[in-house]
Amino acid sequence: MSTQGPSIHDTGALFQIAEPEERRAPARAPGRGIGIDLGTTNSLVALAPHGDDPKVLADGEGRALLPSVVSYVGDRVIVGDAAQAQQEEAPGQVVSSVKRFMGRGLSDVDFTHPYHLVAPSQGAGVLRLDVGAEGEPHLVTPVEVSAEILRVLRLRAEDALGGPIDGAVITVPAYFDDAQRQATRDAGRIAGLNVYRLLAEPTAAALAYGLDRGGQGLFAVYDLGGGTFDVSVLRLHDGVFQVLATGGDSALGGDDLDRALAAHLLGRAGFDETRPPTRHQRELARIAARAAKEALSEQGEVRVSVAACGIDDLAVTRATFEELIEPLVQRTIRACRAALRDAGVRARELDGVVLVGGSTRVPRVRAAVEETFGRPPLTDIDPDKVVAYGAAIQADILSGSAREGVTLLDVVPLSLGIETMGGIVEKLIPRNATIPIAARQVFTNYSEQQTGMQIHVVQGERELASDCRSLARFELRGIPRLPPSMARVEITFQLDADALLTVTARELMTGVRQSVEVKPTYGLSEEEVDRLVMESYDHASDDYAARNLAEARVELGRVALAVRTALAEVGHLTAILPAEERASIEAALVSADALMREASEAEAVNAARVEIERRSEPFARRRMERALLAGMEGKSLHEIESVLAAEEEHLDERRGGHSAEVIDG
C-alpha cells in the first residue's frame, strides 16, 4: 500500500456545455452503419441498410473475406491477400492472428508465433511487435495492426455507400475480457470509426439466425473462430435476445488445430528439442497444416510437402488429424456443458444449435457438437459470414433506421472484482450478469497509519488475484487518519453495454469524493490512443488524397483514350466533327496529357476530364446517331433495340465515354 499511484482528482464527472436540444444536429445517419467481424484469421464487413437483408461487401476482385494479415515489408503497409503472399518470405514482418495479442501482456503470450515481442518498459503498458527488417526495428502495437485491418474495411464500406459511414458495430469474442475489448474499441477509433457497439460474436450470429426464424426459442451458439472459442446460450422472445450464459476460451481456436497438425508434421520430419525448427520453418509448417486441415474436411487423406522443413509428400489421414485435435475439441465441449449449467438449461430443451467460424467445417468438430447437444447443428447461414451479418443488422438499428427494434441483453463473460487482504478476490460483478450493470462496495482501512489504499482491479473466476487477469491498479490517497475499520471507501464498478468497465471511488467518512484514473495494465493510455487517432487523421488525409488522385488519373486516362480512339476512327468526317470542334477537343487532350504527368491534386485532373467530356459531347452524340443509322441497315428490330440499349447504357455509365466497338462502318 505504499507505491506511488497516479494522481487523484477531486470528484466525479466533468461536464461540457451542450447545445440545446433543438440545435443539436441529428446524431445518427440511418442506413450508414456497418457491421465488422474482426476475426483472428479473416475479417469481413457487411451492410444491411434500412432493414435490408445483410450483404457482405467484397473487394474489387470479388473477395469478401479479408485475411487478417498486415505486412510491414518495405515502407508500405499492406493488408489482406497481398500481405499473406509475403508471409512466406518474411514471416517476422507480416503479422497474422494479431487478435491473439490484443489486450495481452508478455506473460499471456504462451502460444508459438514468429514475432519478436518487445515488453513494455515498466511491467505495465502495451506489448509491441517488432516488424522491422533485420537491424531496423519498427515497433507496432497489436491495436495499431488491427486498426490497419479495420481501415481497409472502412474504405471498402465507404466505396459501397458512396461516402462516409456513420458508425460501426465491431464484434468481439464473447469471452474477451475488459482489456481485450478496450483494445478493440481503441483500434476502431484509430481506424477512424465511430464504434457504436462491441457485440459478442455468438450474439451477432444468433441475431442473424433468430431474425431468420421468427425470433423465438432457446439457442446455443458454438463459435470456433481462428483464435478464440465461445459458446453462448440465448433465449429469444418478442424481439429480445437474452444471453443466459456465455463461456469459452479466448486463447483457443481454429489456429490451434493448425498448430497441433503442424507440430505433428515437424515431428515426423525429425524435428525435436535437440533439433528445434526455426521460427520461419514453424510458420511454414503452420501454413501447410492449415491447408491440410481444410482439405481433410473434404477428403480422408492428404499429402503434404514443405521443402524448407524437409517434408516431402507426407501422408496425413483424417483419423490422425482427429486424434491430434481431440484434446482441443474436448476443451470446447467442457465449456459447452458449463455454459448450459450456468444458463440452467438442459441440452434437450434447446430449439437449435448454431455453428459459427470456419473451423466448424471440420467433421470431428461437427460430430462432437451433435453428440453434446443431441441434435444436428444449424449450418444454413455461411459460418464465415453469419457474425458479420448479425453485426450489420445491429449497426443498422443503431444508425437509427426504421428497422424493427431488437433488444440485445448481453452478459459479462468473467467476474470483476478487487484484490483484498491476502490476495483474495472480492467479486463485485459476477460472470454472466446482464450488462449494463453497476455494483458498489465499501472497503475499510486496516490501520490508523494508512492514508492510501492500493486498489487492484481484476477479472476472472479464481479466488486469488494472482490467478486472475490484472485490469488496472491505482492508489487512493488522502484518506483521513482514522482508527482501523473507520475510514470507509466506496468503490463503484460500472459496466456499460460494451462490457467496458469504469471504476470510481469515494471516501465516505469525510464526504470527500475522489475519482481515480484507472490506468489499464495492458492497454494503451488515453494519450497514446489520442496521438494515434491524430496520426491516423494525418495519414487518412494523405491516403485519401493519394487514392483520389490515382482514381482521377485512371478516369482521365480512360476518357482521353476513348476520345482519341473515336477521333482516329471517324475524326476525319467533317459532317460528324467540324474542324474548329476538333481543334478544341485536341487542345483539351494536350492539356490533359500535361496534367497526367504533373498534377498532384485530384481536383485539377477531374476538371480536365470534365472539360474533355464537355467539348466532345456534340461529337459523341453525332457519332452515336451515325452508328445507329449504320447499324439499322439490314438488321431486325430486335437487333436495333439491343444496340440502342447498349449505347444508352454506355451513355449512362459515363457521359462522353465513346465506345469504339459500336462503330462498324
Binding site: 500500500m1 441483453l409 483484498t420 472480492e426 450478469a433 450493470i437 455494483a439 475499510t444 475499520s485 470507509r488
Partner: protein, 180 residues
C-alpha cells in the same frame, strides 16, 4: 485493506423497480414479462441517437433494472434483498444493521461438518456424495425457515437463517470446487 462492508442507507427497492409486490412468493411469469418490457424501454441501444447525458442515464436505468432482475430471479438473493429492505444488510459486519451472529451452536455444527467431510473424502466419492446431499437438504430447510420468518415479519430471525444458509452454501461450493 480490510474486509468489505456495504453502505446500508438509501436501499433501492427492487420490487418497486419491477412493479412487483414486496414479498418472497413472486409470480415468475410476471417478473420475466416486466423485465423484458423494461429492458426494451431502457436499454442504452434505444438511446443511440440521444444526447450523451441521456445515454448515460439510460446506462444507469438499465443497470438498475438488470440488478433488480438478478436479485429477484434467485430465491436466495430475493430473500436477502427483503431482509435488506427490512434494515439488515448481510454484507455488513455492523452488529446492529449487519449480519447477525449465526450462534455458537451452529459454529460447532460447522466444525463437525468439516470433520465429517474429511472422513467422507477418505471413504470415497459415494460417501462425499451422501454428505453433500445431507448438507444440501439442511441448506434448503434453512432457506425455507428464513422465508417463513420474512413472511412473518421477523427480520432479525430471517437474517439469522440466511446467514447460516450462506455458510452452508459456501461449504457446498467448496465440496464442488474440490471435486473437479
Amino acid at each position: 485493506m480490510n474486509e468489505p462492508r456495504k453502505q446500508g442507507a438509501g436501499e433501492v427497492d427492487y420490487f418497486a423497480c419491477l412493479d412487483l409486490p414486496r414479498r418472497h412468493a413472486i409470480d415468475r411469469a410476471a417478473l420475466e414479462r416486466r423485465y423484458l418490457e423494461l429492458s426494451r424501454e431502457v436499454h442504452p441501444d434505444r438511446f443511440a441517437g440521444a444526447s450523451s447525458g441521456e445515454q448515460r442515464a439510460a446506462v444507469e436505468r438499465a443497470s438498475l433494472v438488470n440488478a433488480a432482475y438478478r436479485a429477484l430471479r434467485d430465491p436466495v438473493r430475493r430473500a436477502e434483498h427483503l431482509v435488506k429492505l427490512g434494515g439488515i444488510d448481510l454484507d455488513l459486519t455492523d452488529p446492529e444493521r449487519g449480519a447477525p451472529d449465526p450462534g455458537k451452536a451452529f459454529l460447532i455444527e460447522m466444525i463437525e461438518l468439516r470433520e465429517a467431510l474429511e472422513e467422507a473424502q477418505g471413504a470415497g466419492a459415494a460417501a462425499v456424495g451422501r454428505l453433500r446431499g445431507a448438507i444440501e437438504a439442511r441448506a434448503e430447510e434453512t432457506l425455507d425457515a428464513g422465508i417463513d420468518a420474512i413472511d412473518g415479519g421477523e427480520v432479525r430471525e430471517a437474517a439469522r437463517h440466511l446467514v447460516i444458509h450462506r455458510y452452508l452454501q459456501r461449504f457446498l461450493d467448496e465440496i464442488d470446487g474440490e471435486a473437479h
